[in-house]
């Protein structure tokens, strides 16, 4: 295994879950380290400097949310939250705190690997600090320098808000963005902005970009959390 394989730190107290994650990740070329508690995770994160952290929210010795906040205070390492279904508020708080994505238990290995790939790609882009002025996702092509959006070669006309919204999603393609994050991206810290605004612009974006808005292929909804551009 080459030394530049990414290192994944798993902070998870359940042994079967750790086994599953380790097996899946190692077989796909990742290096894996484990921490069994929030405390151990805190120490490991400083010593090992992992490339990505998988953080379980239900740890025995502390709130995973606190650990996420703490990590975010000194490192930009991508954090993927692992938590049970039905805890949408926890996921939203973790994402708003700066976690990069989440996985709802149970999840398949394909989903796990996809999320990790997206998170690593984004952290590399941030580290490089050079954003490609043209991004292509599916048939969608977005040119940030000319502010031109095309879908399968056809130019799509967007209003300024639609453009801002799409730009935020495209820049984080594959990653979930919470309502709050999107509102901040599009309207700044404007107090009056509500999730309802997002839905309105999302609906009009879908009308322009999706063949059938009820079967979106690009602009996906994460109920109770936010939106994700299929990446």
């Amino acid at each position: 295994m080459s030394s530049n394989n990414p290192l994944v730190l798993i902070i998870e107290d359940e042994l079967p879950m750790r086994r599953y994650l380790r097996a899946t990740l190692q077989s796909h070329g990742y290096k894996v380290e484990e921490a069994l508690s929030a405390e151990e995770g805190r120490v490991q994160a400083r010593h090992l400097v992992p490339d990505i952290v998988l953080l379980d929210l239900g740890l025995p010795d502390g709130d995973g949310l606190d650990l996420a906040r703490e990590l975010r205070a000194w490192t930009q390492v991508p954090i993927i939250i692992v938590s049970a279904r039905g805890r949408e508020e926890d996921k939203v708080s973790a994402l708003d705190l700066g976690a990069d994505d989440y996985l709802s238990k149970p999840f398949g290995s394909a989903e796990l690997l996809a999320r990790i790939r997206v998170a690593l790609r984004h952290s590399a882009a941030v580290a490089g600090a050079v954003t490609d002025p043209v991004v292509e996702v599916g048939g969608l092509r977005m040119d940030f320098s000319s502010r031109e959006v095309t879908l399968a070669g056809e130019i799509v006309h967007l209003s300024p808000n639609e453009y801002a919204l799409l730009a935020a999603l495209v820049q984080h393609a594959g990653k979930v963005l919470t309502h709050r994050q999107l509102l901040r991206e599009v309207w700044g810290s404007s107090v009056g902005a509500q999730p309802h605004y997002l839905r309105v612009y999302m609906a009009s974006l879908r009308k322009k970009l999706e063949a059938d808005p009820a079967r979106p292929q690009l602009l996906l909804t994460e109920p109770g959390v936010g939106y994700r551009l299929k990446g």
């Binding site: 879908r206 808005p213 996906l220």
Partner: protein, 652 residues
């Protein structure tokens, strides 16, 4: 041998009858009767003579009798009043027969008087007519001051004046009539006057009038006239008759007046009870009855009234009423409850209190305390009022106890039903949990077993089974958690205006794999609906999941929506076997599984969750057979108001 069901050592339950008249301190008599009744696990009656029959009853005696009756009630007696005007012994005998009385308890006050020996006493009469009755005599000590003593009520100025006026009028009339009539007729006019005074002004005025009449007759008409001397001794007899008639009429009139007074009072009590009855008849919760009773008593008695309810530890000190009372009054109320005796103003216990506190006892437990706050010092003390209040308190206790018991019964029933459902759920769920676990355990043990390498195809098949069964477990656990949350009221509906296609889109996305081999026709208008996106997605997921399970592989599904003025109608139909008639509502019941159609796996929770969520949205969900065959689920969601306006883009 014939087994006697009753143990021979236990005496037959007695029915005892204790007779009260309020003339002496009778508590030993009452306690003896209660003791005898308790010994044989029998019952006892406290019978008293009607006060109105005894014109010479004084207020003291009346109060004493009331006290005795209250004590009798507390000792568990049924209080019965004998009717006035009918012989007491005859009534007693009739009552004894009717209630199958086995023994009579009487007070014995020392050697009988000469007239009693002559006329026979009540025990003698009773024993003569009902020799089967046993009679217990309890020695009673008469109080030093003879209670039967007649406490003279002195006539007032108005009564004396009226007596004088009547005598003057009668005399004047006699002067006019004298030349034409006999002396006897003149006497008649006086007697008329005496009767008039007796009926109008009472006994003392009547007695005074008869004396004055005799004097006036003697002075004005009996020769020698205009002196008090009497020539003919026979006229003394006339005077005697006049005085005698005056005495009898005066007493009769007094008795009628007393009866009228009692009747009026009883009528007042009866109508008060009647009104209370209608207040109590409305029923309801203990609190509702308490509030109504408070309002009623406040109006009825014209004073502030509180009904304090107790729990098993006494009066709760933190209740709103306790704070309104203040600690001192509250302590008095507590005393009344603990000692089961009236306390506070106008009673023997803690008379310094501002309020009068009457304990309310149910048949088993204390119910609470009736707290009254009379405006002036005397109002609450009158014995008539006291007795009325005691009766009202008894009625209120009964009603409160009834309501309390009803509440307990309802709670117990609900508890039992919940228990039943929990058991069903447990047995059904444990089966549904065990089956996939067993499959997974079996399949994995096969894969792990040492031995010849299995066929790769078989291995893959086993792994697929494990994956599917784990998914089934996952769904079951999720449904159970959802249902538990819904039922415990933990689920709060956060309605937001959402485009319908967004919710549908996110479900279809989530179910992409499952739906891959099916055709789903969509016909959705562009509409915004107020709903909870997370919960509603769950509904659509469960419904689609169900439709997939119950319809043949490869068949298509249809999801349509229609918008009306204030509703959104969502229709999901499949090409499955549909639903037998009469099952349309039952499929939404918890743990109900259709017995028709393909054998499927599920705990019967999915549709119950759907109904719970839709109802929490204020909507409705129904099932029917679609015209083209197959099952159709119809959801109606209310659309109230309009989505918020969006500011123009430039100003955002």
């Amino acid at each position: 041998m014939n087994a006697d069901p009753a143990s021979p050592s236990l005496p037959r339950p007695e029915v005892l009858l204790a007779l009260l008249d309020g003339t002496v301190e009778a508590s030993p008599l009452l306690r003896e009767a209660a003791h005898l009744a308790a010994q044989s696990r029998g019952t006892w009656l406290a019978v008293h003579l009607d006060l109105a029959r005894h014109s010479l009853y004084s207020r003291t005696q009346e109060a004493q009798l009331q006290k005795q009756l209250r004590l009798a009630e507390q000792l568990g007696a049924e209080v019965i009043q004998l009717e006035p005007g009918i012989s007491a012994s005859r009534q007693l005998l009739a009552l004894a027969r009717a209630r199958q009385v086995t023994a009579i308890v009487l007070g014995h006050r020392g050697p009988s008087k000469w007239w009693q020996r002559l006329l026979g006493t009540l025990p003698d009469t009773l024993l003569d007519h009902a020799p089967e009755l046993r009679v217990h005599l309890v020695p009673l000590v008469p109080e030093r001051a003879p209670l039967r003593a007649w406490v003279p009520e002195y006539p007032g100025i108005a009564q004396m004046t009226s007596a004088l006026l009547v005598v003057a009028l009668a005399t004047a009339l006699d002067f006019v009539a004298r030349p034409h009539v006999d002396l006897a007729d003149l006497v008649m006019v006086y007697l008329l006057g005496i009767t008039f005074v007796a009926t109008r002004f009472g006994r003392m005025a009547a007695l005074l009038t008869s004396l004055l009449c005799v004097a006036a007759l003697d002075f004005c008409f009996i020769p020698p006239r205009f002196t008090f001397a009497v020539q003919d001794v026979r006229h003394l007899g006339t005077f005697g008759v006049m005085l005698g008639v005056g005495w009898i009429v005066a007493n009769l009139a007094e008795r009628i007046r007393a009866q009228a007074r009692m009747a009026l009072e009883r009528e007042g009590h009866a109508s008060a009870l009647n009104r209370l009855g209608s207040v109590l008849a409305e029923g309801g919760s203990v609190e509702a009855i308490r509030d109504r009773v408070e309002t009623y008593l406040r109006k009825e008695l014209g004073m502030p009234v509180l009904v304090l309810l107790s729990n098993q530890h006494g009066l709760p000190g933190d209740a709103d009423h306790a704070r309104r009372l203040g600690p001192d009054e509250w302590a008095v109320a507590q005393w009344a409850l603990q000692h089961a005796a009236p306390a506070g103003r106008g009673t023997a216990a803690l008379p310094g209190a501002r309020g009068l506190f009457l304990p309310m006892h149910g048949t088993e437990h204390p119910i609470g305390v009736l707290a009254l706050f009379p405006e002036d010092r005397q109002a609450a003390v009158e014995p008539e009022r006291q007795s009325l209040l005691t009766v009202l308190a008894a009625q209120i206790s009964l009603a409160l106890e009834r309501s309390h018991l009803a509440e307990e019964r309802t709670e117990a029933r609900i508890h039992a039903e919940e228990e039943q459902l929990r058991n069903t759920l447990l047995s059904s769920v444990s089966h549904d949990l065990r089956t996939p676990l067993a499959t997974i355990t079996g399949a994995t043990s096969n894969l792990l077993a040492p031995g010849p390498e299995a066929d790769p195809g078989d291995q893959r098949m086993l792994l697929t089974t494990i994956h599917e069964e784990a998914g089934r477990l996952q769904r079951l656990v999720n449904n159970l958690l959802d249902l538990t949350k819904l039922e415990s009221g933990q689920v709060k509906v956060h309605k937001e205006w959402v485009p319908l296609d967004e919710v549908v889109g996110s479900v279809l996305n989530r179910m992409e794999e499952q739906l891959a081999e099916r055709r789903l026709e969509l016909d959705l208008p562009e509409v915004w609906v107020p709903l909870d996106p997370v919960l509603f997605e769950q509904v659509l997921h469960n419904l689609l999941d169900n439709a997939l399970k119950y319809s043949p592989a490869g068949s298509s599904l249809t999801l349509r929506a229609q918008q009306s003025e204030d509703h959104l109608l969502l229709l999901l139909s499949d090409q499955g076997p549909g639903i037998p008639q009469g099952e349309e509502e039952r499929i939404f019941e918890k743990l109900y599984r259709g017995t028709w159609g393909p054998k499927t796996t599920g705990a019967g929770l999915g549709l119950a969750i759907c109904r719970g969520i839709i109802q929490a949205h204020g909507g409705s969900i129904h099932a029917c057979n679609a015209a083209a065959g197959g099952l159709e689920i119809r959801i109606a969601l209310p659309i109230e108001g309009a989505p918020p306006e969006l500011p123009p883009e430039g100003n955002l």
